[in-house]
Subunit: 253 residues, 2 copies
DNA sequence: CCAAAAGTGTTATGTCTACACCCATGA
DNA sequence: TCATGGGTGTAGACATAACACTTTTGG
């Protein structure tokens, strides 16, 4: 068959009959830490198909906006958060039949936020909630469309980003303790890390976390008050902590 | 505004007026090694817009095929290769105006092939050629649409894949020498690697390359005949060679 | 004073780098 | 036998993991 380039054939004008029309949507997997456990924000669909089923938030791309802008808009509409700590495209999904009614290609984004404000269901969603990521990973909770696969891919992406970029600080507040930051790695990788070695690895990597000089209150059970840090410049080529080998991975909690 | 999920609102049937229509295309960045240099396969456009400009091959997604199938089909139509050594989606591009005539969202794939057969221009391309990746990276060669950005992203992805997966063997033949494999890393990362340490790292990683027992002919200038290997199982979690640190990176050739 | 959590020191082990040296071939 | 490229050995630098020990708090 013929060689084609990414634009359609007609040399002038726009002829809709020349190519199949698709709806393009942007879906956002919103991750956050809550009580030391990774959670995903889901909405309950208020309309067919999959009425009453949980799904990840999303919506149509508008012709005048970029994909990134569409993702930012969806996130804002859903959570009120204006700028996520992280918002990264990680995949496109276009299997025939993924939407029973028409041809839909969706571009999926991973968003990480520090804290979800009020969860308010919008007009076509009847509920919104944070659910533990594990419920989706082990199939306990069914999702609409191919959203279970999309969430799995998003979490796998987060695992890689944790190793390769500064994503970890996106999960914690503007100031944080070493224990809080360590919890992010432990929850997402499902491993236990040595607190002493973790601290050294993070602090020694220059400019990655910045000590504030202040200290947090110890818990009610006592203990030395921990130092508070704030995020430094996010590095691009390799984070301070790398996925740990055999032994650490085996002794999962 | 309202919370939306990835499907359109109407509870029944399909109403094109309810959402903006997009053309969805699949573009493939085809990489191959030639004379120790990374090359990209380009086609010269035979029609407006960008007539006479070089572009990466691509075409419309069909409603009945998946995105992966569309990419496979485009690759086959372009190169005659039925199964690339590697074919991975790496991004979606949908900036308004990226195609001057209409709304096009393209899903981009990275393909790696061992050897390009006959380069034959198809019906709407007037020429096809392998060009060094460097010409695109440094802006020497202009590409149609936003294809320069797409190629840059593809190469960055290849750099990461090299570190994280078995992609390196995709560039070489079914049997290969250590020098050939090392050249892949050196060309894509732009570094020089110590042959002794490279060999050890690759061979010691169990099952990643398999010695065939045979040896290749030495070059015309003599030298000990090198062992021939074939690719083992591709690993998923971390390749044998990691991006080298300061010193190695600095002394680029 | 004791328990608990944070933070520091120390040591054994493993990995990576650089480079010296040996091997097998063509001319 | 010399030049050329392939393959092996090895010592020092560096990174990592494990865990003992000290610090600072609440009760």
């Amino acid at each position: 068959m013929s060689t084609r380039t990414s634009a359609p054939d007609p040399p002038s004008g726009y002829d809709p009959a020349q190519f199949p029309a698709f709806a393009v949507t942007v879906d956002v997997v919103i991750l956050t830490m809550s009580a030391g456990v990774l959670h995903v924000l889901l909405v309950k669909r208020g309309e067919a198909p999959f009425e009453g089923t949980w799904a990840i938030p999303g919506g149509f791309k508008r012709p005048a906006e970029t994909l990134d802008e569409a993702a930012k808009r969806e996130l804002r509409e859903e959570t009120g958060v204006d700028a996520a700590s992280l918002l990264a495209q990680f995949g496109a999904y276009g299997d025939p039949g993924r939407d029973p009614r028409m041809n839909v290609v969706t571009v999926a984004y991973l968003a990480v936020i520090r804290d979800v404000g009020e969860l308010e269901a919008g007009s076509d969603a009847i509920d919104a909630a944070l659910v533990p990521a594990s419920e989706i990973l082990n199939g306990e909770r069914e999702l609409a469309f191919d959203h279970a696969r999309i969430v799995r891919d998003a979490i796998e992406r987060a695992r890689v980003e944790l190793e390769v970029s500064g994503i970890a600080t996106a999960f914690v507040g503007t100031t944080f303790t070493m224990a809080e930051l360590r919890t992010v790695y432990e929850a997402i990788w499902g491993v236990q890390l040595d607190a002493a070695n973790f601290r050294r690895a993070v602090v020694s990597e220059d400019g990655w976390v910045i000590p504030t000089g202040r200290r947090a209150q110890p818990g009610s059970s006592g203990g030395r008050p921990p130092e508070l840090f704030r995020a430094g410049r996010a590095w691009d080529h390799g984070g301070p902590i790398h996925r740990l080998h055999q032994r650490a991975q085996e002794r999962k909690t």
